[in-house]
Amino acid sequence: MKKIELSIRPYRVEAVIAELCREGVPGVTATEVRELRRGVSEHIAYRGVEQEIDLLPRMKLEIVLHDDLVERIVARLLDPAPGARANRDEISILPVVAAVRIRTGEIDEAAL
């Protein structure tokens, strides 16, 4: 099993999650994070002082999946990336050793 991690701009969350659900993903965990990507920054003017902010608000999505689903989901995530600005989103895929469904205690693969 794998855990896919990607962080996207907050307004895209609805669209991306709807996509994932349509793909039959069992669950998604979304976390508000601040993310620094080299070269990506926003300009603010606060009391006359102009400044670049690097740590920008993003939404980190975590999806735990069976291996077979991983390919399909990553593909789905790649093409529907709308948004005019150069989208330098990235996806990290981490290995998940086991997933246990608390209520039934089923171990490993069955949990999802």
Binding site: R9, P10, Y11, E14, R34, L36, R38, G39, S41, E42, H43, I44, A45, Y46, Q51, E52, I53, D54, L55, G83, A84, R85
Partner: protein, 471 residues
């Protein structure tokens, strides 16, 4: 002096509007919405100071309302005697007295020029300015989260125009007030503290604005079904409503313009009763529809009650005040649903609260006014009334003066048609000067940084990353 204190309270209502609107919008637009509500106060006042006051009250002294009602502020007001209208009235000596059968515009006192620098005029100026600001703030609620900053700034300077022209017609001795004298329509358009002039006008401009600017992205799904876009801070909304209710005690009683008028305690009690029955009416309506008592709807209910009682507050007895409030409370719940379903996106329900209940307030004068007050209002003294009731006060339908109801309905129609036309035209025009709506992705990301440069709730390490210089 009393009018000044009341004016302070009305000025404070700006803070109430700001809180309600900021609370009901999303956090990503918090700074933009509060900045809009902040700046509308200076912008609106500027417009009013330059041309608004002159247009609205320039010819005030000649209007029918003058002699009876404002005496308390001293002779100084006679200086407001220059205007323009249809059917110039010539007095006995044939000289144009500056009065008109159908007053349309006042033309005296631009920039509060020294010619009108009299203590009484200053008071009226101040009082009417804060009233105008209330109207100016209402549309910002309906068009929040998508209104471009520059377009908003010019709107701020323009808003005084429609308000003051209409105010001239009702308060400044214009033709709507003269409807009683000219066409025998009861006492002409009677609007004690501005349900029509301030709230209905504000609601209608909000309607026009919401139509022109269009709904927020994500408000309606493909099937056109409205999605809930809840605000970010309900306690602020409740605080804002309390501040508005507090300010409203300056709004209604202040309109007597003279502290000596004992009628004030009736006005105060009516205002309070309407506010409580408004909130309870909304609660009951929610209960009937099987919905939970959503705090923001309860707040709208109270505001609706307050808006509705603004016109009739001095003319009705307490039980009638309570009924007007209750009806407004129920009306607002259905109005919010109706407007949402009909594709008009109004973040705070401004159109339903101020527009719909404002019109209901104007009409309610024509129904519930009990004739105890308002003798000689708008210069109308009808002998048959005096014979029948001892004094010709403002009477509604239930008290035997049907023509008053007609005057009120005329008032409603005029405010709707005039207000909507002016506002719609302006928003379309201003859209050409500078786009009314922010670009697509700015609206998605949140208006705070692109439009006003500072996020609403920044508070996270803002860093100039060393790397970029080296990288």
């Amino acid at each position: 002096m009393w009018a000044l204190v009341a004016g302070f309270l009305v000025m404070f209502m700006q803070a109430g509007f700001m809180l309600v609107e900021t609370g009901l919008c999303r956090a990503k637009n918090a700074s933009h919405t509060s900045a809009m509500n902040f700046l509308i106060y200076p912008l609106g006042c500027l417009g009013f100071w330059i041309y608004g006051f002159a247009l609205g009250w320039g010819n005030w002294w000649n209007g029918p309302v003058a002699p009876g009602w404002y005496a308390s502020l001293g002779p100084g007001l006679a200086v407001l005697n220059h205007g323009w209208g249809l059917g110039a009235v010539t007095d006995a000596t044939g000289a144009a007295t500056g009065a008109f059968k159908y007053g349309i515009l006042g033309l005296k006192g631009f920039f509060l020029s020294p010619s009108v620098s009299d203590v009484g005029v200053m008071t009226i100026f101040f009082f009417m300015m804060v009233f105008m600001d209330t109207t100016a703030t209402i549309p910002t609620g309906a068009m929040a989260e998508r209104w471009a900053w520059r377009n908003f700034v010019i709107y701020g300077l323009w808003i005084a125009l429609p308000y003051c022209i209409y105010a001239n017609w009702v308060w400044g001795g214009g033709w709507l007030a003269q409807a009683g004298v000219n066409w025998g329509l009861g006492h002409g358009a009677v609007d004690f503290a501005g349900s029509g002039v301030v709230h209905a006008m504000g609601g209608i401009i909000a309607l026009a604005g919401a139509l022109v600017v269009g709904p927020r992205i994500g408000k309606y799904d493909k099937q056109g079904k409205p999605q809930a876009i809840p605000g970010h801070n309900i306690p602020l909304v409740v605080l804002g409503t309390f501040i508005l209710a507090f300010g409203w005690f300056g709004f209604n009683p202040g309109s007597t313009l003279a502290g000596t008028d004992l009628r004030i305690s009736f006005v105060v009690v009516n205002t309070m009763l309407a506010s409580i029955t408004g909130a309870i009416g909304a609660m009951v309506a929610l209960e009937i529809k099987g919905l939970k008592h959503d705090p923001s709807m309860l707040c709208n209910g109270m505001l609706a009650g307050l808006v509705a009682i603004t016109a009739p507050c001095a003319f009705v007895s307490p039980w009638a005040g309570a009924t007007i409030g209750a009806v407004a409370g129920i009306l607002v719940v259905y109005a919010v649903l109706f407007i949402e379903r009909s594709g008009i996106d109004d973040c705070v329900g401004a159109i339903s609260v101020h527009g719909v209940c404002g019109l209901w307030g104007v009409l309610s004068v024509g129904i519930f006014a009990n004739g105890d007050y308002g003798a000689g209002w708008n210069g109308v003294v009808r002998d048959e009334m005096v014979k029948a009731y001892g004094s010709d006060g403002v009477r509604g339908l239930l008290y035997g003066d049907f023509s008053q109801f007609l005057a009120q309905s005329l008032d409603c129609i005029v405010v709707f048609v005039f207000g909507f036309a002016m506002a719609y035209a302006w928003f379309k025009l201003s859209n050409r000067i500078t786009p009314i709506r922010v670009p697509h992705d700015v609206e998605l990301e949140g208006l705070d940084i692109p439009e006003v440069g500072a996020p609403g709730y920044p508070d996270f390490t803002i860093r100039v990353v060393g790397s970029r210089r080296e990288a």
